[in-house]
Symmetry: none
């Protein structure tokens, strides 16, 4: 068997089987899964091309994706074939065209599901602010180069225009004062996938706890702006089960700070989006304690939480109560150990 030859401008093909985790509960592969495969193919082919001549080593960075239509959904068990080709180069950018095909390996049927055009810019490996030069490609016909140049000019113009489109921030946490509860408060959404679930179709408790710790860590990092690690987790009760296909919102807010620790309250709320009965309910809640570490791994002082309301003050006092209780328990435990 001979090895496939690879030239700097030759096409690349990425193929893989679509798995349950790539799809929604109806079995349709997420558009995002396909976009990720498309970009991986584009990044490989353009990085390879931009390094095909002697000179500075670079990595191609995605600058723009043209409008993309999803002509037909892909399904679990089908094989997605993504093939990419370089179709135009300017001095500092590469145009890649990508075709996506779905193949049902059981019936043998194939269909085109996507076509996409991506623009890459090569950035120097040693100096990421430097754009390196792109080696020119050979065109089969002169018209192909001219059409490419037109696409290049068009996208350049559009990029200029859309650079303005920014709008306000949807999540307004930046407008808050530092060290307040609102400043570090965070929440994330997670769409429950097959691998998150037991044979019953309910979310593993461990998956929920991992997401809770993730949110708590983001809150702690936003507050301290240092390397933070989990020190302890309060008892967690799992009041209600969370079903496959739900959307869960995990929210965290700081409740208390001592000299060297922070307490973060985390809530998990489940939305049964699709189905007969739609409801939203609190599934789990817990307190996480974090500490801030220096680069050498030593505990750092924690900036004190700025309290702005009666509610926050009440929660702070309750947190202080839990903190002092734990401290007392630990000291009693230490004493009992030394007296033995």
């Amino acid at each position: 068997m001979s090895l496939p030859k690879i030239s700097s401008s030759s096409a690349i093909q990425i193929s893989r089987i679509m798995r349950p985790d790539d799809a929604n509960i109806a079995g349709n592969v997420h558009g995002g899964t396909i976009l990720k495969m498309i970009e991986e193919a584009g990044a490989i082919i353009s990085t390879r091309h931009c390094n095909s001549q002697d000179g500075e080593r670079c990595v191609a960075a995605l600058a723009r994706v043209e409008r993309t239509d999803f002509l037909s959904p892909m399904c679990i068990g089908e094989v997605g074939h993504v093939s990419a080709e370089i179709t135009y180069t300017s001095k500092h950018s590469v145009e890649v065209q990508v075709n996506v095909m779905a193949e049902n390996i059981l019936t043998g049927s194939k269909r085109v599901t996507n076509r996409a055009t991506l623009w890459y810019v090569p950035l120097s490996l040693t100096n990421v602010d430097k754009v390196t030069e792109v080696p020119p490609i050979q065109y089969e016909k002169k018209e192909l180069e001219e059409e490419g140049k037109k696409r290049y000019e068009d996208q350049k113009l559009e990029r200029m225009e859309t650079k303005q489109r920014n709008g306000e921030f949807i999540v307004p946490s930046v407008n808050q004062e530092e060290y307040t509860v609102g400043y570090s408060q965070s929440s994330l959404i997670h769409l429950v996938g097959p691998s998150d679930c037991t044979l019953h179709g309910f979310v593993h408790g461990g998956v929920t706890m991992k997401l809770m710790d993730e949110v708590a860590g983001i809150v702690a990092a936003r507050h301290c702006k240092t390397n933070i690690v989990t020190a302890s987790v309060d008892a967690i009760d799992f009041h209600r089960k969370i079903k496959k296909g739900c959307i869960i919102t995990i929210s965290g807010r700081m409740t208390f700070t001592s000299n060297k620790s922070m307490e973060i309250e985390v809530f998990v709320d489940a939305d049964t989006l699709v189905g007969d009965t739609q409801e939203r309910y609190r599934a789990v809640s817990a307190y996480f304690t974090y500490v801030s570490l220096s680069k050498e791994g030593k505990p750092l002082p924690v900036p004190q939480l700025v309290i702005e309301s009666e509610e926050e003050k009440k929660r702070f006092e309750e947190g202080k109560g839990r903190y002092l209780q734990t401290k007392a328990k630990r000291q009693a435990h230490m004493q009992s150990l030394t007296q033995q």
Copy 2:
């Protein structure tokens, strides 16, 4: 070959190497990664035990985790060993005690990093609302049973009490009226990990697009409450790079609905949390179009977006403009095809 039998009460051990994606940029394994391993060990041993006698098949569901301390952080490249043992059973619940040890396989050093206690309840596989009976375990000494019973009573009491702790919803989107922009508006946070990044240490464009599609899909599903799929993505410009260790917030809101499609605007904002210069900036934005599908895969009518402000009205009109423009282009393209 006869394999040694595993007795229902025997211990279980889960071990695995800690990988870059399990840890933060300082190399400390996330507490959540360890909590997830702990729970996996607990779920296996308690499910095995609850099915050890003839009778209804069941899966053990996590009901409660006792307070857990993280004595020392684990690092990338170390092997985490999680060992679990059943220490008490009541009629309908199982107590599992778990020890976590970190082993540096290069130096041979080992240390205890965690101890945890988890409570499971067996749910019937055929009827998830039915709690099945737990086979009793044998205790080496009578005192062990008595101590277990005390822990059981204590946690039962605490569970009753904490069932009340709920507080308000941090993200108040539920209070919104259905079909408004605010009702379906969603955002998710992602902590950029090593596997999200290029050799430069910048996020792959494909990773960003996958998250954008995920948020857009959640917005669309919240609006329609049906099976939804990506129909197209507008041109996306990547204005600014996103660095490893950043926190990115991906937010989506509905801008426009036609009879059979929805347009969702998605923003990606990056926070450079840790480091010398802290800033928050808009990295990417784009419009996604989704359609709603019936169980048979046919397009369904989309509920009309309810507009509540001048801002929303302006965005709706702009969305309508994009929709009509795309439609016109497609018709022109079709005509050019038929005339060829």
Copy 3:
């Protein structure tokens, strides 16, 4: 841009960038990551071929992987290209040959890292105990068919033989002396999830091999306390299928050390926890060979295994036999190459 044509017997290529999570801390991609990609390519091409004629729909299940050498380690950031081709078919089995190439897209250098031969058996989608018929392939020359037939007969014989290799269970022990078998012996447990499985609901062979390589790597690292990489994998027979929802225990122990290599025996045992019939059975077993590398990537001497029992001595001698046989084969192969 024209679409790639796919015929039932045409080759397939799977390519992707190697990420941090695919590799050890020294940056070398795990052998298991590559075995998983190899098996994915093999499963796609053989399932496609077995469904290329009208008749019962089936999924190709991995039955055996021939001895595989890892000629050179792959690194993070390189692109792995896995190309597979069907080279022989019998009535009920398919032989797939796979080439793996590493491409450094920054320097343009490419090298072959692996060659592998896999055997698949098609199982009916509706009745997994039924093996369906394989459509014959066309051979370019008559000799190719004859050579294939010989390989088919050889592997059939070997499969019969190795079906016996089972041995006792590996039970972990901690407080062992360094360099003994017990000291490095390791096992890990994995709960089979949906994304580990084929459309049938059985674990992909590639998923199993990845876990086997992970355990073997932990055993090797514990013994050497250095950067270790997979050098080769002995032929692996997949005696029994593993079903979704099973718990699998993967155990490894060192059997033999030469001056510069270690042989590790790995067992995969499946527990059908939930379901009508609960049983535990040996599903797969294999020998992995690892080498120890210095920071510069040069092979290091391996500490000799300390033998403590008659059993261990017997396994050591058998390992030595396999080692000498492989060495002799390689030398014969080299001579035949130089004489050509």
